[in-house]
């Protein structure tokens, strides 16, 4: 909760005028960070904005030629790029839905007196702390059609998870759900524990059914926090690179971030990829904006 309305020490008082002035301390503390972020985040983006109007290739010494909006036009007319976007949309939908269902479900199960609850919760949270690339890679062994334990325990025989073009995206999303359901669970638990107990007691006195109680009391009160979790996970899923890159090289799992990586660092179409990065950037800024607006709304309550 920002406490900006608190009284601040009068800058003209004697106490505040000893040593460095408040104004110079403020600048000393804030400006280096802002400068650092501008130099290493904003300046590079301006740098690549310039390249996005050229046909520059970082792999050659040929000078960059100005091509105007050609890159942007080509990209937006490229059916393969739209394919990447639709794969990404599908991936986001599968993985975020899965995370919400599993995460919220786990939170509902955990929201009661359970022996060793603290330890169990921490253990359940472990997957989300691990490296997506390193642990994700290990799922290759778990998914292996010949000796993977998933096929063995589910009795699926030699089911192909990653080699099947239609299944691969689902297989990646399942790993993502495994890793990030705990995140939704963590936030949902906070939401659930904040629901006042007396509401449930009142519902019980009124002989309200479990389903009624859930949809009329639990869900509406947890919704704001759940929404934070959903927006946050949507943003992250949209950016997914690591998991999909280590697990699969199928064209059917080519998410936007992977296409961008290949365009920039394998095909070395630097100018074109800079333009592509800008298109992605605008989309991310739009989602971030929604997220922050929502965050402030929730905080303001």
């Amino acid at each position: 909760m920002p406490t900006n309305n608190m009284t601040r020490l009068d800058p003209n008082s004697q106490a505040a005028s000893r040593g460095l002035s408040d104004l110079s301390i403020r600048n000393l503390f804030i400006i280096p960070t802002i400068a650092f972020l501008i130099i290493f985040n904003i300046f590079p983006l301006l740098y690549s904005l310039g390249y996005s109007f050229t046909d520059f290739r970082a792999s050659t010494n040929a000078p960059a030629k100005f091509v105007g909006l050609q890159n942007y036009r080509d990209l937006l007319n490229d059916p393969f790029i739209w394919k990447n976007f639709s794969i990404t949309a599908k991936y986001v939908l599968i993985s975020v839905t899965g995370q919400v269902v599993v995460g919220f479900g786990l939170a509902m199960l955990l929201n009661r007196a359970i022996p060793a609850k603290g330890l169990i919760t921490t253990l359940l949270l472990l997957p989300m702390m691990l490296s997506m690339a390193v642990v994700g890679l290990f799922w290759k062994l778990l998914y292996d059609p010949n000796f993977g334990i998933i096929n063995y325990f589910l009795g699926l025989g030699k089911f192909e998870w990653l080699a099947d073009p239609d299944m691969a995206l689902w297989a990646i999303a399942i790993v993502d759900i495994w890793m990030w359901s705990p995140f939704v669970m963590l936030l949902s638990l906070a939401g659930l524990s904040a629901v006042p107990k007396h509401l449930y007691e009142a519902a019980e006195i009124d002989r309200a059914g479990n389903i009624y109680t859930f949809f009329r009391i639990t869900l509406p009160l947890v919704a704001p926090i759940l929404m934070i979790a959903i927006i946050f996970r949507t943003m992250e899923a949209f950016k997914t690179f690591d998991l999909a890159y280590v697990l699969s090289s199928q064209p059917t799992t080519e998410l936007i971030a992977i296409r961008l990586y290949k365009m920039a660092f394998q095909e070395w179409q630097t100018g074109m990829s800079s333009a592509f990065a800008y298109i992605v950037l605008i989309m991310v800024v739009a989602i971030t904006n929604i997220y922050v607006k929502y965050l402030n709304k929730v905080k303001a309550r």
Binding site: V134, I149, L260, Y261
Partner: protein, 320 residues
């Protein structure tokens, strides 16, 4: 739900607890399997049915740290007998340790160096991000800043960029100034990445420290700077430690920047471990051993951090 539990409620509770335990087992199986595979002999790592009971061996770790090649001909009895225990393990696996031709020293695999690089880059970038982040958070928390919310949004937005988007121009710029494949290059990137997080989280922690503490110190004759270091910092220490652990884990786990910006000298473990799978039949016990060692710091930190996870993962939006 005070009062007496009905039989139905009791059974709902029991079912829920049973379901929690089943979920726990499913969630932890992949992690358990990494640990289990890391101590298996190679021939038991890929069996059907899966091998659950076996005699643990450290052979995967020996192989993880040494450079090996296929054994063309069996070692002579004498060679085998005089070999140290760990070299025997490699012989037993049908491989031999590669030695330096001149000095006869055992050549190491790349893993140790990658692990060290991960440590260097993560620790230094964490110190920088938390240090700068705490100062900036204090500035935003205690002083009037014109357009404060806009600045904070700007700071947060730098974190939201997809790594590959930032990596394209950074790669070109680093190439000009010679920072590609250097520790410094990665440290700068990770510091920038974590700095925004540190500012947001630390602002929350510092907002919670009552202003009266510093104001009392100011009245007692401290300067603002002294008050900050002697009064505010000690109070903020828990928050700083939690923030540092989060920053460390983020840097430790980071993959995309490391993949693009480093290839040998400064490469960290995350891009190195997948590169070992390659084509053909990978030795999963070695990959599991590398993964296992890599996960230990994170697992320990997760337990230390358990009470701050909610706050950190929600960027300070939810506190408790």
């Amino acid at each position: 739900m005070a009062g007496v539990q009905t039989t139905a409620e009791k059974w709902t509770n029991r079912t829920a607890i049973a379901a929690v335990f089943v979920a726990l087992i499913i969630m932890l199986t992949p992690i358990y399997w990494i640990a289990a595979t890391a101590f298996k002999p190679r021939n038991l790592a890929t069996t059907i049915p899966p091998t659950v009971v076996y005699e643990p061996t450290v052979a995967p770790f020996v192989k993880l740290f040494t450079k090996r090649s296929q054994l063309r001909e069996q070692p002579t009895q004498e060679e085998y007998d005089t070999a140290p225990w760990w070299e025997k393990m490699v012989y037993d696996g049908g491989e031999k340790v590669v030695r330096n031709r001149k000095s006869g020293e055992v050549r190491s695999s790349g893993y140790g160096d990658r692990f060290k690089n991960s440590l260097i880059v993560s620790v230094i970038s964490t110190i920088l991000a938390v240090g700068m982040g705490t100062l900036t958070a204090y500035g935003f928390s205690r002083f009037k800043v014109a357009g404060e919310d806009d600045w904070l949004f700007f700071i947060l937005s730098t974190r939201m960029l997809p790594p590959v988007v930032v990596a394209i121009p950074m790669f070109l710029m680093y190439r000009v100034v010679g920072l590609n494949d250097t520790h410094m290059g990665l440290i700068i990137l990770y510091t920038a990445f974590n700095l925004s997080f540190a500012v947001w989280i630390m602002k929350g922690f510092i907002d919670e420290i009552p202003r009266e503490y510093e104001e009392a110190a100011l009245v007692d004759g401290y300067t603002r700077i002294q008050a900050f270091f002697k009064v505010v910092l000690p109070e903020a220490l828990t928050g700083m430690a939690a923030t540092a652990v989060f920053c460390f884990i983020t840097a430790w786990n980071e993959y995309a920047f490391a993949l693009i910006m480093t290839n040998r000298n400064a490469q960290t473990a995350p891009p190195y471990i997948p590169s070992q799978v390659g084509s053909g039949l990978p030795d999963w016990t070695v990959i599991a051993a590398g993964t296992f060692l890599f996960l230990i710091p994170v697992a320990i930190f997760t337990f230390l951090l358990r009470n701050h996870l909610l706050r950190g993962m929600s960027f300070g939006a939810i506190r408790k």
